[in-house]
Subunit: 184 residues, 2 copies
């Protein structure tokens, strides 16, 4: 379950041969929390109450320790208001330039909700590269920004890719059949 068709297509491709994934657009309240896992959990609970069939939802945040974790779960809002330029301005003179993306995927079915997380860590740099989207041009991992990496390479190490891989592994190992999974 995701409201973004491209993301849905990516997810469906990822699970080819393991599970069938349909895309169901659903108006869902956007919960506020500092933890993407808690947000994904709430969205999954809401969606399962409405759809009553196994589903996944995700939530992603972007965290900069030198800014107290900002923009955190509000990465999209911050990008749309103060933009990369604003974030770079806030980082001027900061010694700790670390930053990471974190995605939480919540899987929900009649047995409960299970959370899978993926994270990618880098450092904030001046914008470079024309690929990717969002914060990609200002986040460098091992010397290259995410906007400088080929899409396939980025997908292999990205926060979302890692969270999806964890979910896929669990599903391939029996997943829901391994018992109830609320609060894990």
């Amino acid at each position: 379950m995701t409201s973004n068709r491209n993301k849905a297509r990516e997810v469906a491709a990822f699970f080819q041969g393991v599970a069938t994934v349909d895309h169901v657009p659903l108006e869902c309240p956007e919960y506020r929390d500092d933890d993407v896992g808690a947000i994904a959990r709430e969205k999954a609970r809401f969606a399962y109450e409405h759809l009553k069939k196994p589903l996944i939802v995700d939530d992603t945040g972007f965290f900069i320790p030198a800014l107290g974790g900002f923009p955190g779960p509000y990465a999209a809002y911050v990008l749309g208001t103060i933009g990369l330029e604003g974030v770079l301005r806030l980082m001027e003179g900061k010694e700790d330039t670390r930053a990471w993306f974190e995605t939480a995927i919540a899987y929900a079915d009649e047995g409960g909700i299970r959370i899978f997380r993926g994270r990618i860590e880098g450092v904030i740099v001046a914008p470079r590269g024309s690929g990717g989207f969002g914060y990609d041009p200002i986040v460098a991992v091992d010397g290259r920004t995410l906007a400088e990496m080929p899409l396939a390479e980025k997908a292999g190490i990205s926060h979302r890719g890692r969270a999806l891989a964890a979910l896929k592994e669990w599903l391939a190992a029996g997943g829901p059949d391994s018992g109830p999974h609320t609060n894990c």
Copy 2:
């Protein structure tokens, strides 16, 4: 209905002689939206479903046009991460220094939900004053920051004061008895 006891006391005092107001703590999801009215409406809907009696909830945002409306409904989160210093840094060199607070109060009962709004506009300045809280030291109205004003004076012109006044006027004029009020 508010989870803040001081605010509840202020509200109860405000309605003395017009209505009796109890404070009911309730765990409520925090909805994300650019509009405080939409957030207050969702919170009121959630709370009414649980409490099934007339209630008010509020939501407040802080909007800076030069920053695309940032921090908007995430004023508390932004204050707790990048702080006043971060906001002032983002404002360096901006010609348009306007900023406003907006509070939306949602009244809910069996007839539906009605929204009351209050707004106070000022300009962003270097911090001054020791009163108030939050963004008050950097928001000047007619030459003084909100942190330089006596509390009673601030309450009289504030966003929350104005929203409460609009609600009080409606209640005094018959309020809910004037008919259904969803979607106003």
